[in-house]
Symmetry: C3
Subunit: 339 residues, 3 copies
């Protein structure tokens, strides 16, 4: 990596240098592993002890914590955000050469922008439109009629079902499946019959879809992700779900069919959200919670139970089975006591 002076980075990213403006850094590191040629940052106060011991050539830090470090500093109102910007500047996403790999199978009537890159062993069926600078990595499968807007990137082994749409600058990680059939079954006397899934998946611009995440196509209308929706790995989004802009969903979350999630929501890992619900804007769901009713007010909601030593937990479980008799015992005591 090229070396940069702290003054250069400060100017470019609107930060204040404290210390030696001419100090050069040529890499990024954690506080723990930094050397005099690397830049680090402090965002989470839990790492304050490491700040005091770091050998970093410079640290991005808030004014509040600046006094805790004697070395060179870049003062930021939001050190994590500054870190993200500087890291992106120093480690830009590698440009992929334009063109269609000779091993790719692309239907003749597709419209592939000449600046797009189609990798090895990719399949693109009839009638697709692939925008400028789109990168479709190795092993992706794109069914017929798909539209992928400019600057989007499918890293590898991504599946996009027929007629689905991805907005600009959307990033899809390996193994994601977008637009498989929703789980629609009708019971016919003594067996299931499949309900055709006729909708699409429509994903807005600036979304990110994690590895092995699945987003089912709508049953009749579309499954929709508005702009800047961020999904981690192994998330399951059922048919006809609608997710509002700027909502972030952590790993292993499942959302059942036809539920509507608001804007600026945050859903922590491994939570489950039932079907046909409405969650308003700015709701936070804590880890491993089960949402079974609509949520009408912003705020934090949860039902996760922190693990404890198994013997203690076994006793709690026993007590749970006794609550019904406790209710009667309490009532009887109160009656006898004349409450």
């Amino acid at each position: 990596m090229t070396a940069f002076k702290l003054s250069t980075l400060a100017e470019q990213f609107g930060l204040e240098v404290k210390g030696e403006p001419g100090h050069e850094i040529n890499g990024l590191a954690t506080l723990e592993r930094a050397s005099s040629a690397t830049l680090s940052f402090l965002a989470n106060p839990n790492y304050l002890p490491q700040l005091q011991e770091t050998r970093a050539g410079a640290v991005i830090v808030s004014a509040e914590h600046a006094g805790r470090f004697q070395g060179n500093k870049l003062i930021s109102e939001d050190p994590y955000l500054s870190w993200a910007r500087i890291a992106d500047f120093l480690h830009p996403v590698p440009v992929v050469a334009a063109g269609i790999d000779t091993s790719a199978s692309v239907a003749e009537d597709c419209s592939i922008d000449p600046s797009a890159s189609i990798g090895p062993h990719v399949s693109i069926a009839a009638g697709c439109t692939i925008g400028a600078r789109v990168v479709i990595g190795p092993g992706c499968v794109i069914e017929a009629g798909v539209h992928i807007a400019e600057d989007s990137r499918l890293v590898a082994k991504v599946f996009i079902g027929r007629d689905c749409r991805l907005g600009e600058r959307t990033l899809v990680h390996p193994g994601a499946v977008i637009g498989a059939d929703g789980f629609g079954l009708a019971f016919d006397q003594d067996r299931w019959i499949k309900v055709p899934q006729l909708g699409r998946v429509v994903i807005g611009p600036d979304c990110e879809i994690g590895a092995n995440t699945t987003i089912d196509r709508g049953a009749i209308e579309d499954t929709v992700l508005e702009e800047d929706v961020r999904l981690d790995n192994q998330v399951q989004i059922a048919h006809n779900v609608h997710i509002g802009a700027h909502t972030a969903i952590a790993g292993c979350v499942g959302i059942a069919g036809s539920t509507r999630i608001g804007r600026y929501c945050m859903i922590a890992g491994a939570s489950g959200i039932g079907g046909h619900l409405t969650i308003v804007d700015r709701v936070v769901i804590t880890a491993m919670s089960t949402v079974l009713e609509s949520i009408h007010e912003p705020g934090h909601y949860g039902s996760g139970i922190p693990a404890r030593p198994q013997r203690q937990w076994q006793r709690v479980l026993v007590r749970l089975t006794q609550l019904e008799t406790w209710a009667r015992r309490l009532a009887r005591i109160e009656k006898h006591a004349g409450h």
Copy 2:
């Protein structure tokens, strides 16, 4: 889409027309978005308000709810089932051209029915049998000795491990992994050794396997899905599990090894079922429940906890840790009161 008269649909699907039998519909839509040329349906009474406002050209509706809509109606005993059948008729699965794509790698000694379709970048190893009208979509990997019965369809990027078997008309969605090794480990002094996984996965006819779902091969005997088993996305089925006919399992469910699930069971999303259990026929497991003992009676079972505002929930968690002392306090009060 071709236009159809209501009388034609009514006759074909055994429904009664109320209204104008000659009215033509040329598409399907939800109540909310329907127009005079589209057909809609009412199955879930929650949507009754939409029934009264819909502009649909006709609605499939039960006799019970027929009075709530003034327009053209197709009266059905089970509107959702009628909808499924009509949707399937109007939107049949597209026929895929027979033949083997030039980019596919197929071992010479395989038996591929001439009416089967083998897509781009598919790998089929030695000794496989692929039945009539089977569709193996782009990027699928079929190991040696696999047998896929007629009219089955692997949409794309499906893996089928050696010697596994799929019945007729079984549909497998992208990213599903059928027949990877089960998680079999023996502890050898200070480290794990792998227990060879010698069984197969045997899947009956008319099953559906969701996107990124995994079904492990048996350790010694087979992992079995009987006929008409329906698995949603991201379901995990461990080695030697046996799932009875007509059982439906929603997204993100995990079933541990050697468990036997009965027929006509329904397991809601994100539930976990322990190993070496037996669940009888017609058991319903509610969402995000943990099944750790065998279930011997049909009925509904659960242990999921609905999320509530985080402050309320934190208080419940505190109270849970106090139950042990409450037990003693209750007993002491009763003793003092001479109960």
Copy 3:
């Protein structure tokens, strides 16, 4: 399969024969399905009734249970371990022919050992090193700069991100995604920006990674699995997690970012572990538990709730909402009683 005398197996695997040393077995089976030519085993005492009825030609059994079976026996201190070794001997992993399939896309500057096997439709980008006897199955995608040590095997459709490293004899099942970006987001006024993920995934020797499991690359430093770590299917490992040697993690577990798991831990299915925690060596987490605090002592921990009939469970849920008022009622009773 070739037939083997019991005396031959006993000698090779350090077991004692009781019965007819010259009896020949030519296959392996469960107690329930065994015939006189097959070998079976008893490890789980739950299967003792089957031991008494089995028709197995011989059974691997502990000295403790040997008296419960009248037929031929191989006496072992650890029947499951002996079974694993004998099964591995009788059913060795098939050798895959060395060489690069003509349909594979391999960058010119890679170093591929001549004894390695590169399957159909594999993509290997620039600068990769593939060791001796490595098998890279059909449809795998290897990004630039990856190093895979000797005797490792990627079964099929595995993704390995840029610069990641796999140790010797590591086995990766289909659909696993190793080295996708971690879920790193910084909030910029009214929208998310992506935090570049600059670390790698570094996996030790003798690991096993389950089907559709995801392991994210580190944000700055690496995500690390030490030696002999065993992950089941659909496990999610977030960025900068560190997993100690000999730890086994069952299906559907999620571990959030920067958490450090010790050696010889066992994490049961569908549990979730929060971020930035430390779990010491030899911790066991029971099924469907939520770990939200560091664990400093070895032992068993949990918070999973066994399902019960739904009506009973509904009553428990009602009682949970009453605990707050119960606390007041208990205190009032005690006050009145003058405790």
